[in-house]
Every structure is written in structure tokens, then in C-alpha cells.
Symmetry: C2
Subunit: 310 residues, 2 copies
């Protein structure tokens, strides 16, 4: 009998088992580390397994991540390159991350921090803001999450553009693609949202040079990976007055060290890598769909381009 | 020549004139108070005119409000009852109010205030929140604005219901209608959003009795009209611990008086009646459309039911 090996993240593993037993009754669930007969394991649901494990499953057909970041799988050399890695397309993750991003964009655009200060001094004063259609939001990373965020902001009439490896055709969203179009993308962006994954190419992509390409007064939001942003360069760009502020959910080192200058910076809002969350009931949807396609011999969608690292 | 009389609000009147001249060149624009020949005035764009004015336009066919609230028109007895009053369906207003509401809902649901406190003490701690699908949002007032807000929240996977005079059929939004269904609507609502207009029926509809119908820990958001909410009852429900907090954009008296207990209440977030804003370029869209329909003899949509007061 085909089996799925499950190593759950924060979510109790019983929740994953319940979903799989219900919708794929002919696939046996094995809960890590109780692997059983390794020849049975055709599918693995995990974000990482100890070194060398993947090479011990002779009939492995699919690996599915439980989180958004897939570094733990992509960096595992025991995972044969022909095995597809399924990206997490959990609707709940996309919805909760979109909510986190909307909060940060609206808080900045609509001056909510200043209103909180005004409330303390009982000041009834309208603070002007640019109309949303004249507020240029730019999203770096236009996968499932980036696209969901872009659509939500466009629905609020923000002027949204996306930057990604390949050009995207999404109604109402301007598309910039590739290294050559990064500068014009940044130059037209008042509020920058990075949802980039961790890859060798994205390491410090947001550095002093890129911050300088943003217009003066731009605001930076990072909920992708901490590796993508040069924290010292961000602090310098904030302190010089070139950037107006930043909202960060991810950091070079997590938990963010107590001695980091980010914690108490007056222009930085910090949350502890919690922008999105998802549960098995939604995470399993895409995995079940992929397993069914594999069995029918159909092509998979939503898998990682391993040559690109995401 | 048919003329439109324009009395602008905050928006410079030139912006209205520019739009009308461009899309309705055969309608002359008259800017209040330069009315000219009163027999020419077929359309009025205004939120209010001095007492008795409306009765002086013998060929009046349509009055269009420039803001969301229409009290200034509905309470004017010189405005003949057969003249249709066009409700403002400005897309920009709906978008900016939706953004204001999303900010308040997400701020409460995702514990952003607590995260700001944690940042000050450098605490890296995940604060649990109910999944959005288990977070029951209820919207009172399901007109254009309420419906737009409902759809946006539903897109973020919140469990959304609306309460309105008549039942609404909106996919994914549970509909409660009429006085009899107000109690079950409130009983299932964790986050209450009131976008109700000012009418005799909505006066203090949110009072001690209604707050008691909400589950313990519910959160109240008001961006409709200040007249709809009993401020003393709200304070009592917050202080008893029955309600967990409130976000208010509108008040019984505006500007909110300096001696109001709302200002410094730790569980209340205040903004100065600024949840939405719109401009002539969008506000004129619906008016132009209505004028064209009138000229073709077609039925108007988006007009006020004057027997109901909104």
C-alpha cells in the first residue's frame, strides 16, 4: 500500500492524518519518525528531514512542504533532483499573509500611527493622504502569495506593480520582470513589499543601492525572508531620511537578537515572523490534488523550479 | 440649455466642473451660489442647500449627494418627494472606507497593538489568534459600502454576515434581515462593524441591550454615523469587560468634545471622521450615468428610498 510520510510543523500531526484518511483512504499515513517499510513511502509531507533520509525511499514520487519557505528541502542533497517538490499554496496562509500586508500598507498610507498620537493629545485633525490610485505599491515576488496580495491591494484601488523572474499577466497589475527591470520597478514604488523566497540570488537583494533606487519617502515592508534585506543598509536609509519607515516580520537572525538596533528604531514596526499561518485542513488541499494528478499521470502545477531555487 | 447646479464639499468645485464639461458637454455647469436662470436647473449636485432653495427650481429632475450621508437632503422639506435623490456610489469612497475597516479588523484580530507593546520590551512572542474562518465578522448596513467591506473581509477568509433591512443574496455572506433577526445576528458576531446611515430608526440602535446580545469579548467598529451608537452604553460595556474594545470614526458630537471620556479610554481607538474620502472624478461617475438614464427615460438605480430615510 502506498504511504505518505508526515512530519508536521506547528500543526498537530493528527490534523494532517485526519485530512488524508478522509480524502485519500487508500494511502496509508506514517508519522515521522515511525517510517515503517521505506519502500512504501511514495509521498513525503515535511519541511525538512534529517540528512540523507530522502535517499532511503526507493519509490518516492513527491515531496510537499508544510510551510512557505522550502530551504530545508532545496538544500537537501539526498533528495533526488527529479522528484517534484510541491510548493505550499494553502489558502489560509495566503489570506493571513495578505491581511498582515494590508494592515502594514494601510497603517502607513492612512497615517494610523499619527492618529494614535493625536488621540492621546485629543487632537481632532484630518491628516491628508494621497488617493490610493496615486499611491504606487510594488510587490517583489509574484508567486501565489504575492499575487494574492497584489489583487487585494488593487481591489482597494492602490496602483500595484509586481516584480518577478518572469513576466506576469494579471489584470490591473503592472508587471516588471528580471534584473533589468528592477530599477524602474523600484523607481516607481512608494510602498515596497518583499515576499521573496530565500535563494542565493535574493541574498541582500534589498541593499543600499536598491534602497537608493526607491523614491525619497518610500516605505519598506518585508515578510518574505530576512536573508533578502541588508538590515544595516535599511537603518542607514531610514536615518538619512531617504526612507520613511519599515515594517519587518523576518530577520537575518530569528528570534531577533536583543542587541539588534531594529527593535527600538522609531521608524520600524516589528512582528516575530508571524505574518502568515495555515492549517492542515487547507495545506492538504494542494497536496491531495497533486497526488491524484500523479496517479492519473497528469502534469503537476505549483512545483518548485529547482534550477532557480524556488 | 439644461444646467447642473454644483455645490461642492471639500473637493474644489473646478474638479466637478471639469468632469461634467468633459463627459456631458451639453449640460451647463452653474456653481453655487451663482444659480442664474432657475428654470434651467435640472440637476443639483450638493449635500445641502439653504432652506427653501429646492422649491425654486421648476424643472428639477435629480439631486445627487456629494457625500455618503444624505441627512441634509432628506430633511429638506422644500425638496419635492417625487424628485429622486441619488446615493453616492463613488468607488474611491468605498475603497477608502474598506481600507479603514480592514485596518481595524486586522489590528484587533491579529493583536497588532500587543505586538507594538512587545516590540518596546523586545519580546519575540507569537500571540495566538483564531483562524479567520472561525472569526465571525458582522456588518450592519449592507448597501454599497457594507457590501464592498463584506466582500473584502470574505476574501481574507473571515466568516462574514450582514444585517440589513431586506435580505441580501451575496455569495459567501450570510444574510440577516429586519428587526427580528438582529439578536441572532449579534449573538454570532465577534467583530461588529456598523456602517448604518443616520435615520430615526437607527438612533441608538447600538445600545446597552444590543451590546449585551454580542458574545463576551466582542469588538465594536463604527464608521457609519455617531447617532447610531449610545456612547455611555459602550463605555459601560467596555468597563464591565463584556466588550474587548472599540474603534470609532464617528461620534454624537463632532469634533469629539475635549471632555469626552472616549478620548483617553485604553480600549478605544479614535479617528476624526475620516474613514472614507472621495473625489469628483469618481463621484461624478454615478451622477453622469444617472443623468444619461433619465434622458433616455430609463429607470434609475442607486436612489434613496425616501420613505425609509435612506
Amino acid at each position: 500500500m502506498a504511504a505518505v510520510l508526515i512530519r508536521s510543523g506547528r500543526e498537530p500531526v493528527e490534523n494532517w492524518v485526519a485530512v488524508f484518511n478522509k480524502v485519500l483512504p487508500d494511502v496509508e499515513c506514517r508519522i515521522w519518525p515511525d517510517v515503517g517499510d521505506r519502500a512504501d513511502i511514495e509521498y513525503v509531507v515535511a519541511n525538512q528531514l534529517p540528512d540523507g533520509q530522502f535517499a532511503t525511499f526507493p519509490n518516492l514520487k513527491l515531496v510537499a512542504g508544510t510551510r512557505v519557505g522550502l530551504e530545508g528541502l532545496l538544500n537537501d542533497e539526498s533528495l533526488p533532483p527529479h522528484i517534484p517538490i510541491l510548493r505550499n499554496t494553502d489558502r489560509e496562509r495566503a489570506a493571513t499573509m495578505t491581511a498582515w500586508v494590508l494592515y502594514q500598507v494601510i497603517r502607513h498610507h492612512r497615517h494610523f500611527e499619527e492618529y494614535a498620537v493625536n488621540q492621546r493629545s485629543k487632537a481632532w485633525e484630518h491628516l491628508k493622504y494621497r488617493p490610493p490610485q496615486e499611491t504606487r505599491v510594488g510587490i517583489m515576488g509574484m508567486g501565489n502569495l504575492g499575487t494574492t496580495v497584489a489583487r487585494a491591494l488593487s481591489g482597494l484601488m492602490y496602483r500595484v506593480a509586481g516584480w518577478s523572474r518572469t513576466r506576469k499577466d494579471i489584470p490591473g497589475i503592472e508587471s516588471f520582470a528580471g534584473a533589468a527591470e528592477l530599477e524602474p520597478f523600484l523607481a516607481r514604488t512608494d510602498i515596497l513589499i518583499s515576499i521573496l523566497p530565500r535563494t542565493p540570488e535574493t541574498e541582500n537583494v534589498l541593499d543600499a543601492g536598491r534602497f537608493a533606487m526607491l523614491p525619497k519617502g518610500a516605505y519598506v515592508i518585508n515578510c518574505g525572508r530576512g536573508t533578502t534585506l541588508d538590515e544595516d543598509a535599511l537603518l542607514a536609509a531610514l536615518d538619512s531620511g531617504h526612507l520613511s519607515g519599515a515594517a519587518l516580520d523576518v530577520f537575518k537572525v530569528e528570534p531577533l537578537p536583543q542587541d539588534s538596533s531594529l527593535w527600538n528604531h522609531p521608524k520600524i514596526a516589528i512582528t516575530p515572523h508571524y505574518s502568515c499561518s495555515g492549517r492542515a485542513v487547507f495545506g492538504a488541499e494542494g497536496i491531495v490534488d497533486a497526488i491524484r494528478k500523479l496517479r492519473r499521470g497528469e502534469a503537476l502545477t505549483g512545483t518548485v523550479d529547482r534550477s532557480q531555487g524556488y
